[in-house]
């Protein structure tokens, strides 16, 4: 086997990992409040299923989500829900988003968990729904719902499961410390995923700058058939597509996903949380986060509960706020500056770097591109970064797309090697966002046009129907008029006769009624009013009959 293979481009970086590896994983104290964001994954916001004032237990579900739309979130400790509100979340935009705020009661009491020693016997569907219910979303940082990822691989046959323990970005040691301290849980998780997928082989990719983690994993995998593959330390070997290329020699196709070539990639921390979810029923309420940077007195890895304010963790690690120049979430290459120090830890918070001015000096003023081509050599996706730069900068987004802008993984290798210090990745991120926005707007416009056209068509139809009815009415009236005129002319003769007869009848009745009334006046006074009314009625009929006769006389004489 030629394993490990190679991927194009890439750069070598000072790894800065030893600072945070001096001590084992620490357990931070409880903060005075938690803020658990409802959106910590790719997809829709989870729907809150608690209300302010509710008391919750550690591990209780705070917000639910349908499978395929997202994952639920859980209470990091026992306490009281004090608010569900828009708060600062760790996002480069600095925008607020929905969070559940919890004040701990200090008892840290677990809810009832579904302990399950023979989890391997559970049917596949049950295992997947437990993984979903535990709120597991890719812990490498992107946060793709894990159950959905495992199902997406189900259609295409997955031959190879790859666990990503490369952790190629400088400063971050969260996965490394997890591999050193809990290799058995990782391997157990790997075996669960492997059996879920029916994968033939399972590989763990790990960079050669982590000898202790390699040793721990090799001991844990002994006799399991899982292979630990050590790769050369070169950024970005931990990128999903790069690691797949390193371990299998295959390239994920453009516009495709790894499942297209029979591969599925999971982060090692995700594997560990899958094991914990199935074996102990524990949801994701904490994760290993690296706290590092020279502004911290005691850098290291902590098992941070989701929702802990970042400032709380930094203070416990001995933050010197005066020295703090940049606070970065994620690594120095792909992470972002946190706009707010009060934002909470989320499922994707693998690292917090509190950097000082001499660690992160101001980036030099960008100079013009000299088309040296260094970026092209560094690009692990074999793109042409300088062309993309020109197109992105001048807003020629269709050309940028032709040059496969969307294949860019935003690793930042091109910016790192650029002798002109051009913030290339920022241009690409902007261009991608602008293109997505244009597409969205186009979609909305198309929908609006459709609705407008259908409305127009409906109005036309209504108008036409109205017109038709009007025509029909006109036709009918005309018909009636033309048919009725000769008839009335012909009947004007006999009409006079009938009218005369009617008048005579009416007069007769009036006389009759009058006679009855006279009679009643003497014999039965109680019936008088009734008979008077009847007489009036007949009198009126007589009047109208006489009137009609007079009119008929007039019209016939004219």
């Amino acid at each position: 086997m030629g394993r490990p293979f190679d991927f194009p481009g890439g750069i070598e970086l000072p790894d800065n990992k030893t600072q945070s590896l001096q001590s084992p994983i620490r357990q931070p104290s409880l903060p005075d409040h938690f803020a658990v964001p409802l959106l910590q994954h790719i997809g829709e916001h989870a729907r809150a299923c608690v209300q302010p004032g509710d008391t919750v237990l550690k591990g209780q579900r705070l917000a639910d989500s349908d499978r395929g739309a997202g994952v639920p979130v859980h209470a990091p400790t026992s306490g009281t829900v004090t608010a569900i509100e828009a708060r600062q979340v760790p996002h480069p935009s600095g925008l607020e988003d929905w969070c559940v705020r919890i004040e701990p009661d200090g008892r840290d009491q677990w809810t009832e968990l579904a302990d399950c020693p023979d989890y391997a016997e559970l049917p596949v569907e049950e295992q997947l729904s437990r993984i979903h219910a535990a709120g597991i979303a890719g812990l490498g940082g992107a946060g793709f719902p894990t159950d959905a990822k495992l199902v997406a691989g189900d259609g295409a046959r997955i031959r190879t499961l790859i666990l990503n323990g490369a952790e190629c970005e400088p400063y971050i040691t969260a996965d490394q410390s997890l591999m050193r301290e809990r290799p058995e849980a990782i391997i157990a998780g790997a075996r669960i995923i492997s059996s879920l997928l029916g994968a033939e082989e399972c590989l763990i990719g790990i960079e050669d700058n982590k000898p202790e983690a390699i040793k721990a994993l090799q001991e844990a995998t002994n006799g399991t058939g899982i292979e630990v593959v050590v790769v050369r330390t070169r950024y970005p070997s931990g990128g999903e597509k790069q690691l797949i290329q390193l371990l299998t020699g295959q390239e994920v196709p453009h516009d495709g996903i790894p499942a297209d070539i029979g591969v599925l990639c999971q982060n090692i921390a995700t594997a560990e949380s899958i094991y914990r979810a199935l074996r102990f029923g524990e949801p994701v309420i904490s994760r290993i986060t690296t706290l590092t940077g020279k502004a911290l007195e005691r850098p290291g890895n902590v098992e941070a509960r989701i929702g802990t304010p970042i400032i709380h963790l930094l203070n416990e690690a001995g933050l010197h706020e005066d020295n703090l120049k940049r606070l970065i979430m994620g690594g120095p290459m792909m992470g972002f500056d946190l706009p707010s120090i009060t934002a909470p830890v989320v499922k994707g918070t693998n690292c917090l770097i509190a950097g000082t001015a001499d660690e992160f000096p101001d980036s030099p003023i960008p100079q013009p591109c000299i088309r040296c081509g260094l970026c092209e050599q560094a690009c692990p996706m074999e793109l042409l970064p300088q062309q993309l730069y020109w197109f992105a900068r001048s807003g020629e987004y269709d050309k940028a797309e032709d040059f496969n802008l969307f294949d860019c993984i935003e690793c930042g290798a091109c910016s790192w090697v650029c002798p002109s210090s051009i913030p290339l990745v920022q241009y690409y991120q902007h261009a991608k966002g602008a293109i997505r926005e244009q597409r969205r707007e186009q979609e909305e416009a198309d929908r609006a046009r459709l609705r407008f056209e259908q409305r127009q068509a409906r109005l036309e139809k209504e108008k036409a129907e109205k017109e038709e009815r009007r025509q029909a009415r006109m036709e009918a009236r005309k018909h009636k008029a033309s048919g009725a005129t000769p008839e009335s002319a012909a009947s004007s003769g006999p009409d006079l006769e009938t009218l005369t007869r009617r008048r005579d009848d009416a007069r007769e009745k009036v006389d009759e009624a009058r006679a009855k009334l006279e009679e009643a006046r003497e014999t039965a006074p109680e019936a008088v009013t009734k008979l008077e009314r009847a007489l009036n009625k007949h009198q009126k009929r007589l009047d109208s009959a006489e009137q009609a006769l007079a009119n008929a006389h007039e019209s016939s004489t004219e």
């Binding site: 935009s93 991120q429 416009a445 407008f452």
Partner: protein, 203 residues
């Protein structure tokens, strides 16, 4: 010789007749309905159907543009639409004509539901059928379908419709482009065909 001439002329005439027939048939059989340019222009317009351009909808404005009207009368589309129309029609982009309005953030209409008297006037005014309700019953706006055209505001007899700026979804956010003129000295760009005259002078 005359014979040859006659054959040549005859052949050419036959060919001409043949091709003429084919073309004539094709022009009937494959006739393009409507003006395709109008469709293209229409697809670039934002389809708010707001009528701010002075025409009763996006399609009529598209027709007017093809007839030679100005391309800068669409405030909802703004500069981006003007730019893409200019590209399509190969004309110079012009700044938005302020007479027709100014470019604004995307807004949607929201009915204050307890004040609504159920008169259906806004339903009749909505060009995209984005308002649901019936006579004497409360109306409401389907937010995802509202184009923010304002046309329901005026007909409302009790003024219970507000235009609300849509709050940005955190998932749709993207960073701004880096400042476009980051260089400290005047454009010493080399080897580019996309720069103004100063660059060429320097090269």
């Amino acid at each position: 010789m005359w014979m040859n001439l006659a054959i040549a002329v005859g052949t050419l005439l036959t060919l001409a007749g043949l091709f003429g027939a084919v073309l004539g048939y094709a022009s009937v059989r494959f006739r393009v309905q409507g003006n395709p340019l109008v469709e293209q222009v229409d697809s670039l317009l934002p389809q708010t159907q707001c009528g701010q351009c002075g025409y009763p909808g996006c399609k009529p404005y598209a027709e007017a543009i093809v007839e030679g009207d100005k391309i800068n009368k669409c405030p909802p589309g703004g500069e981006a639409t003007i730019q893409s129309l200019a590209n399509l029609l190969d004309v110079e982009p012009e700044p938005l004509d302020a007479e027709h309005g100014v470019e604004q953030e995307k807004r949607v209409a929201v009915i204050r539901e307890d004040e609504c008297i159920g008169c259906t006037k806004c339903i009749q005014a909505c060009p995209v059928d984005a308002i649901v309700g019936a006579a004497q019953l409360m109306h409401t706006v389907i937010e995802s379908e509202c184009t923010g055209c304002d046309l329901c505001i005026d007909p409302c007899p009790v003024d219970c419709i507000d235009m609300v700026t849509v709050s940005k979804d955190i998932r749709e956010w993207y960073p701004n482009a880096p400042a476009d003129r980051p260089f400290t000295h005047p454009e010493p760009v080399i080897a580019t065909d996309r720069q103004p005259a100063t660059a060429e002078a320097g090269a």
